[in-house]
Homo-oligomer: 331 residues x 6
């Protein structure tokens, strides 16, 4: 490696919005770069006031913000931070969005609605982003919504590492529905070739789903199940699917998701089932250590983003940090 | 006027976001056009779901939304509605934003902050707005931030009409600070040539101001004062200024503002002073009739927007609906 | 309907590239508008020379071109025709692309490849398209790749009409793989609630697939199967799937696809199986009547495009002409 | 400071238009970089011919041009120079515009006029500017007109340094009108807390103003006045204001402005008053030493631009080189 | 033709810059539409102030301006007028530029110069032009510089009509150089098949040319010559060429050019030669009737532009109003 | 030269499309950089599949592709390769197009055709090109079609070097038509001041031309002729011109062209004439050594591109690598 291929800490500025400063701190720490301060306040008319706390002139700037609730506030923080970096003469403006929640709005399944993921991709560019980093998009096609280069990283590496420490004898990987069966299958292969099954899910509305049985590999004889999805919000379908697996006689169930929102007391409702042994997620969404549900396992991903930023800066390939298209969120 | 210069109701679609549906309804009613339904919900991950309730194909679409608190939610509703109209083949997409709150963020008065009014102007264009209508921008230069044609309408007509019914003998118009003295002077001239004065205001922070006396025309002999500003949020400077006027012996005070936010119990705190006889504002921001403070007077502006829309549609000049640059928000 | 809501034939110009002039003629005929001539030649250096044969000034222009083989030639014809219309002052330039073959390149499933569907969507806009019409995209997310308004129409209506004339007793709808099961399910519901199954397909390479059995509803007792996919190219997976169905004892099989490419003698190879009774497709891709395979049934879609064009012109909703997101190409 | 943080003279190219080559030479000299030659001629049809005299490939290029009369010729020179740099593969193209005269056209104060400052900001971007540097904009909002990063530098530092060498006992700072009172107040504070007053100016037309007395701090007892404005053209209001101050008995007056145009023999008319002791300006506009009016004091600003260029190149903050928003041109 | 194909005078607004209001008046008159007033002044700092004198809202606006000396002033007037029309919500903004002088700067024939014709084409678009009309571009490729639709009209029709009234027996058409021989040949054909010759011109500098004899058809026996060029500025090469023709014994010479600038007393110098019988040009450049040189013949072109505007408005082809590529300015 | 001015091989990535990998290899070899592999395949539906074989992140990427037949396939390869480089975060994306065949479509010489050279220039930018390199454009104005910086290199240097080794006594340079006489004259001057003549060509159609004799310098006494053109396709006009020269008694003829397409057995037809001694061209278009016609001389240009790339990378002027405007393709 040539001399110029060394990370120059002075050449990089990392800032964090309000959504997940802990993850931002982890990323900065991994890179050996200070997380710079950001001031975020509100004017009396509710408009945000944002100030970046260090000069960005001619530097590579990374703005780290997950689009977690309150989503619109966090989005506006992000857009303003990008705008500030751009207009203060940053050399590059990277939007690092560990959880790009809008990816779920990726198509028109009703007339006169918004493909909001595309809209937000465009807003990010308008605000000044020259590059986007994210993790596990709901569908791999969302990658094509970005007009600037985008790198959707994978969480499969960190989950694989976590589960390899476990006894996986008699385990089956279960996808919540037929659409996510491909990702589940790939995950099962990562874990040494486990069998796969999928719930026969029908979505009645945004909050209501019905699951009619299981499609795919036979479950009998299975001793444990790992249910694998990209995102858990209220956990409704997870709960239904778990009940079906229980009826099938599987006594040991783990839930896995990259983005754990756990709204509407999802953790309490899921954790109440004794057969659910663990709910494994990443820290793309912030889960304070102090108040974590005892069954919640949070696998950190800061080093994945840190490594991607380092390689991007040094001009190294980051291909092995993201599993392509057919992976993860591939439905 | 030729035949084609007739408003074709079927050619127009009016939709409203959540911020001020009453004003939207007034505008639609004035135009003799139905306000079309809009569905606004939230997904379990807090993302907005918006659906316009009528076909917009090849039509002139007007999306009406004030950027009142919660500002970011209302902004995102607006952006999504514009995006829907654009991508569903509307002929024109008009963003009607009675209160464009971001206009206050119109310059860099500190390093590494955002000129958010420009950013939002750009976001509106990205989302699909082909034209913007608004009322009384904080400074007239904000007009230049829009890349699409923009029409900032004036509220001076409706206020003038309101005050002309009163006895204005011995009245003085007072601007809260030197910066807004020009608008106040113009308002004073509209009311038949009243004298003008201005508070000597120094802003300590976003919420704290100090007013050191009065600049300009002598106040003694004045029997009543009309304090005139573009926006009242917490009402802090209004309160201070009122106290100074009371010390000067003026017993009858009215407050006038186009955009009445009245946050932090502003109305209660202002209304508690018996010398404040009325707080006059418009309905660019929604004030439910049922719960209005007894001293609050809300002058409707729906017909101003309605008339501007009508003239825009018919290709008539709307010059007399907005007072140019040096007016209103001119500071 | 008001007077101005009448199709003005003089206001519309329809042109066709070389890929499918018969469909273009059908569309024009349905609309009662003449198909205008287009001259397409090659210079001696192989560059295309294209000339539109009628003035387009201030008119709504529709360029009809399917992206069939030779794909790049047809794409370049289309781009040049759009460019000509735009630069000759057309009022609107509509790209009508019955078969948008690039939709299959909708994600990065390997490093350093192109999301070509997005690239081509951008090229269309650069060349001058102000609106795109197409039919049954490979995945519904591709809709979000277009920066101009896009209308992906559905073929479900024409297929439904075709099959309703048949005896569907004992029939099952089979999707070639789990990914297309949703569309198949919807199609099955359209046909009065038929049961659904899916092939357990694994794609080995672009040309090779392996299908390991059937997932989903039991097949025994079924007397006939309808295999449903968006596109058939070499027909490899159709052949494999048919063999599995034959092993399951189903004696009567029909293949259905919107876009029938039938490369590599696909029709001969499929038609050679006596149990395949019919191969049903649309004319988004041209199949000359004179040389059609006897088992090939071509359901015309010209009236679907014609109706969409008419409604677009008249400002009527075309929602019922396309099934939203979760339909057709939904995977 | 790391090794790469050293100005590389070979990496920078500085060119000057015809408006102010002396200032350009000063800037280049301060930076230790040669001012490269530029050829500017006219074709017989009056079109400009411009040629940059040194390769700009992959370099940071700075084009220095004040928009002084003849304004349109100087603007066109600038646009062509930017275009040349861009199309000859410069890495960055900086427009350094010490006097951005269009800033005065910053709002619509009449119907159907141009917000020319925004238009010119857009033209600069079209021509190829990737960054703009300027000094003391007429209003701070003009900053928001630029789509590329812009740095409006301040002249307050150089004026402060100049006046600190004087005896300021009994001095008052006077703003020509209420609108510029804020800047004047800030200037007064810089000079150790001098009192402030403002002329009560009413602009009758572009060339005619009337000043009715003085607003603000009492003038009696004052021994000297410093009238402070951003720009002096014909000097009409300066003259009027001076006369009022003379009536108030102030015998010693200095005029200060960043941009000294002095059209219509302004210097002779102002200098003829014996009480006007000095007219202090900067060299954003060129004033040949040989023919300078004896009362004219020209404070150089080349080092301010030089320092800003150096810091921009080295990625250092330049915040202290410009006073934010509420300063200088803040009205 | 349907009813809607009638010119609606109220739907059209025509404005003129300062360069050629007489031509603008002719165009307006031909169309039966009033020429609207435009106010053009200068601020004391030399900035232009422009105001359009009639509402343009939702109308088709035509801004007529020739880029004659002072070129930069006239260009800036044009850009501001376009900007005003655009930002005041005109439906279409047409830049009608009878003489587009920048067309001569159409290539890089030296390093680091500007292809100014392309730059200005881009500036016009930025300022708001949605369509450009012009006449006889210096080279036909300049057409490709415009990103908006452009219509370069021809002057051949009006010249043909003029010369057909003359006795052309024994006449030869002479091109000033080999590059313009093609246009001359076409012109000769229009006049009934006259022979053609060309000067063997070598351009030494912008103002100096040397012509070494005549290339092409023999001249002896010719009784009269028509020298044909697109533009005459100082007339230097015309003079040289005339002298050569005189040496060849041709006693009767007429000069023809579309754009007659006649700088540096060109008319006096050319007219002084008794053998030059007439100098024929059009009014794309203004030549006041009162002071016209007795040998100057000005053929009006207002009706050509008027007819093009009319046809553009009505959606009729204007192909026969401009001779394509290989014509006129084709070199 | 400073240390940073050294070519860093690791910082550069060179890829080649299918049109001319040999030239690409030459360029890479000259630069001392490896040519990286590219995979180009077709999906069963004829869509291209392209994958770049090495990481491009933060690097300067050069995509080398001549637009030779099949032109549209090669164009699409190029566009996809640019898109991949851009979206995979290349620092710069250079399109190196030795033969830009579309340059011939540079004007509208008929109504409703495409100025395809401009269209393709725009498509290249949309796909991601940030810079274009090419050689000898058909007309120098095409340079102005590119919105990104473009460098049209010259082949005159390599031809000059080739011919200087020959005996040029009694030689004349002949241009095929009057339009290309300027380039020929310049070429003649390069070769020590040879005389020049031009064919009197009239193009009847794209494939048919008629040449009526010779214009210019006398041919008698000439012993050898060098016919010089930018491109030979079918060689029709070359053949005709040769026959005229033979009639004039010139026994030794060489044909020279930068871009040798030689379609329709051009080489066989031309080579069959014994007086044609050599057909000299460059390798902008690929001519396999094994099957080259014995009279074909291919002068390599890889080092010209290599040197231009090197200088561009190092920020050196490349002016001497391209002859400006009036050169080569200048017509």
């Amino acid at each position: 490696m040539t001399e110029q291929h060394t990370l120059n800490a002075d050449d990089i500025r990392i800032f964090s919005g309000n959504s997940n400063p802990e993850l931002a701190a982890d990323i900065a720490k991994w890179l050996g770069v200070s997380l710079q301060p950001t001031t975020i306040k509100r004017f009396t008319n509710d408009n945000l006031y944002v100030q970046l706390g260090a000069s960005v002139r001619s530097r590579s700037v990374f703005i780290i913000q997950s689009l977690t609730p309150p989503v619109n506030d966090h989005l506006m923080e992000l857009l303003m931070m990008l705008d500030i970096a751009r207009s203060a003469s940053a050399k590059q403006v990277h939007a690092v969005i560990p959880y790009f929640s809008f990816a779920r709005s990726d198509k028109k399944d009703a007339p006169r609605i918004s493909i909001t993921a595309r809209l937000v991709a465009d807003l990010l560019q308008t605000a000044g982003a020259t590059h986007v980093m994210t993790m596990v998009l709901h569908s791999p096609q969302v990658h094509g919504f970005f007009s600037v280069p985008a790198d959707p990283l994978t969480s499969r590496g960190v989950f694989q590492q976590y589960f390899r420490q476990q006894d996986l004898g008699g385990a089956v990987v279960v996808a919540p529905d037929i659409g996510s069966a491909k990702s589940a299958a790939r995950f099962a292969r990562d874990l040494g070739g486990l069998p796969v099954a999928a719930g026969n899910k029908e979505r009645v509305s945004d909050t209501q789903v019905v699951i009619n049985g299981i499609i795919g590999n036979q479950l009998h004889g299975c001793k444990r199940a790992i249910i694998y999805d990209d995102e858990i919000a209220t956990g409704g379908s997870m709960l239904e699917l778990t009940r079906i697996l229980l009826r099938e006689g599987i006594p040991d169930i783990q839930l896995v998701c990259t983005h754990g929102l756990f709204t509407n007391n999802a953790l309490d409702r899921l954790g109440a089932l004794p057969e659910i042994k663990a709910i494994v997620t990443t820290d793309t969404i912030y889960h304070p250590v102090a108040t974590r549900h005892p069954k919640l396992v949070v696998v950190p991903v800061g080093h994945v983003f840190g490594d991607a930023i380092r390689r991007n800066y040094l001009g190294e390939s980051i291909g092995d940090l993201f599993v392509f298209g057919s992976a993860d969120g591939d439905k």
